[in-house]
């Protein structure tokens, strides 16, 4: 029974590679799918993540959280077409960064192709990844960061952290050449965002009253809806990362859904056992944990592996936000590190274990006779985490210098950022 998924995928295995080699003939099916995928991933930031995070932030900071998410998407969109795409996907310089050849999308026209899809579609697809990655970071620091600092930080961080790492893995850089497997962004997106969030949370410090007063989420309803939109968009994120409408994309689609579902169940049952209530916030968090962990593995593993990866993510995420956070004492407001960092690391490791050449000949993990892959995965995780941590600290201090401090005034923090910074309120309550 368990051989079925890869048996179906097997005949399709060689198709994408022959396409990529023959390159440069446009495939209308692939192009249509990639335009849809791009639109799906776009939705994850200003809709999915905005609601997911907004619902978890306090009632007085709900709009500020949504504002930071929207502005991250808008800034990312502009930076990407000005210089971000060129830095990440321009001609390689020493395996470290792309060049400035494609500044302002220079040299790319309607006839330019990336594999079997127009370069414009490829660039926009990659742009949505840059946008959501920086937006994920803000989960660690809601309720207390200056909006101006967030804007400056976003510009610097996409340019100097995201673009190089995306280049390392997907743009022809050293990590991809080394053979690191990251199908849709375990290192580039989730470990990267999780570690940056943790560093930012540590530098900013805890929220006033953290650990003493109750910080109720403004609306678990919004968070649950946000998680559902993220799940929906993630089909474009993972199945779209094949950059083709083929069997591997179908396999990625299947394992993505399975991992999300079992991640939610694992988190829910863990919570039910330990704290006696199966919460909706727990289910929503488990969905995201499962999705994060399957991201690097999506196009490489079969269905049974996705059950293990998803269940592991649900349990690790639960431990990450309940035990780890309390023990280490940092205030990662909405658990960007606890969920994305921890489950991203798990997913990247699991890819090195479960990558199955029957699904995708590009990946062979420890369980299929290639122990070296696990080692490569560890190097890619450590390199990403170290580069992000050090780079983010430097950018934080530059941002602090530019905007004259990172944190809102104490009175603003107590009043709430919706009112103090935006002059609005999320809910009309008499």
């Amino acid at each position: 029974m368990r051989v079925k998924p890869w048996m179906i995928a097997a005949p399709l295995l060689f198709t994408p590679f022959s396409l990529a080699r023959a390159a440069d003939t446009l495939d209308t099916g692939d192009t249509a799918w990639m335009i849809v995928s791009t639109a799906l991933v776009m939705m994850m930031t200003p809709a999915g993540l905005a609601l997911f995070y907004g619902g978890m932030s306090r009632y007085k900071n709900l709009l500020n959280t949504i504002a930071m998410t929207i502005v991250a998407y808008c800034l990312g969109s502009v930076i990407w077409v000005l210089w971000g795409y060129s830095l990440a996907f321009g001609p390689d310089h020493g395996g470290i960064v792309g060049g400035l050849t494609h500044l302002f999308m220079n040299g790319i026209g309607v006839d330019s192709l990336q594999g079997s899809i127009p370069t414009y579609v490829f660039a926009l697809f990659q742009m949505t990844f840059a946008c959501i990655t920086v937006a994920l970071v803000l989960g660690s620091i809601v309720d207390r960061m200056k909006f101006s600092s967030w804007i400056v930080f976003t510009v610097l961080w996409i340019t100097l952290i995201y673009c190089p790492i995306a280049h390392w893995v997907w743009g022809g850089g050293w990590m991809g050449s080394m053979g690191a497997l990251d199908f849709a962004g375990g290192t580039v997106v989730h470990i990267n965002a999780g570690v940056a969030g943790l560093v930012l949370a540590l530098v900013l410090g805890k929220r006033i009253g953290y650990g003493k007063e109750s910080m109720f989420p403004s609306s678990i309803t919004l968070t649950a809806l946000g998680a559902a939109l993220l799940w929906f968009g993630w089909f474009g994120f993972n199945a779209g990362s094949q950059l083709a409408a083929d069997g591997i994309a179908g396999s990625a689609f299947l394992v993505t859904n399975t991992s999300a579902a079992i991640g939610a169940l694992a988190w829910m049952f863990a919570e039910w056992t330990v704290s006696k209530k199966p919460t909706v916030l727990g289910m929503a968090s488990g969905i995201v944990a499962g999705l994060v962990a399957i991201t690097p593995a999506a196009g490489f593993v079969n269905m049974p592996a996705s059950l293990v990866i998803g269940a592991g993510a649900g349990l690790l995420g639960y431990v990450g936000v309940t035990v780890l956070k309390r023990k280490l004492g940092y205030d990662d407001s909405l658990d960007a590190f606890g969920v994305h960092g921890v489950c991203g690391i798990w997913g990247a490791l699991a890819t090195g274990l479960f990558a199955n050449p029957a699904v995708n000949e590009a990946g062979r993990g420890l369980f299929y006779g290639n122990p070296k892959q696990l080692w490569i995965q560890i190097i890619s995780i450590v390199a990403t985490a170290v580069f992000t941590a050090v780079g983010t600290i430097i950018l934080i201090y530059i941002t602090r210098f530019i905007t004259g401090g990172l944190r809102v005034a104490k009175e603003s923090e107590i009043e709430g950022l919706d009112s103090a910074l935006h002059g609005e309120r999320g809910f009309e309550i008499i």
Partner: protein, 112 residues
């Protein structure tokens, strides 16, 4: 004149209103309030962080009546709002000096 303030469990509001209608009470003011007494609060857990919810939602009913009717009304409210469990609420009775109907300017008994 007396003012009767009853703090009750929200789901008992309809029972109390009906019981008072039966004895001819024609108006009341209610508000949603929060508080705690012997019932204390409860605990909610979000991603492992425990928050104590001290203040529990209740409904407060206010009625101003002629002094001699107060005792009967208090009894009716008590019967209707009683579940026998902790947290059923409290009733307070206090004297009222004056009442004025805004539209006509009537005062005292005529105004209530």
């Amino acid at each position: 004149m007396k003012k009767i303030e009853a703090i009750i469990k929200p789901f008992k509001l309809d029972d109390v209103k009906e019981a008072l209608n039966e004895i001819g009470i024609q108006g009341m003011t209610i508000s949603e309030v929060k508080g705690y007494g012997r019932q204390k609060g409860h605990k909610e857990i979000y991603r492992g962080a425990e928050y104590i919810v001290d203040f529990i939602p209740k409904v407060k009913i206010e009625i101003v009546v002629e002094a001699e009717r107060a005792e009967n009304i208090v009894e009716k409210i008590r019967e209707a709002a009683n579940t026998g469990k902790i947290g059923d609420g409290k009733i307070f009775v206090s004297p009222i000096e004056e009442a004025i109907r805004v539209r006509t300017g009537e005062t005292g008994k005529d105004a209530i």
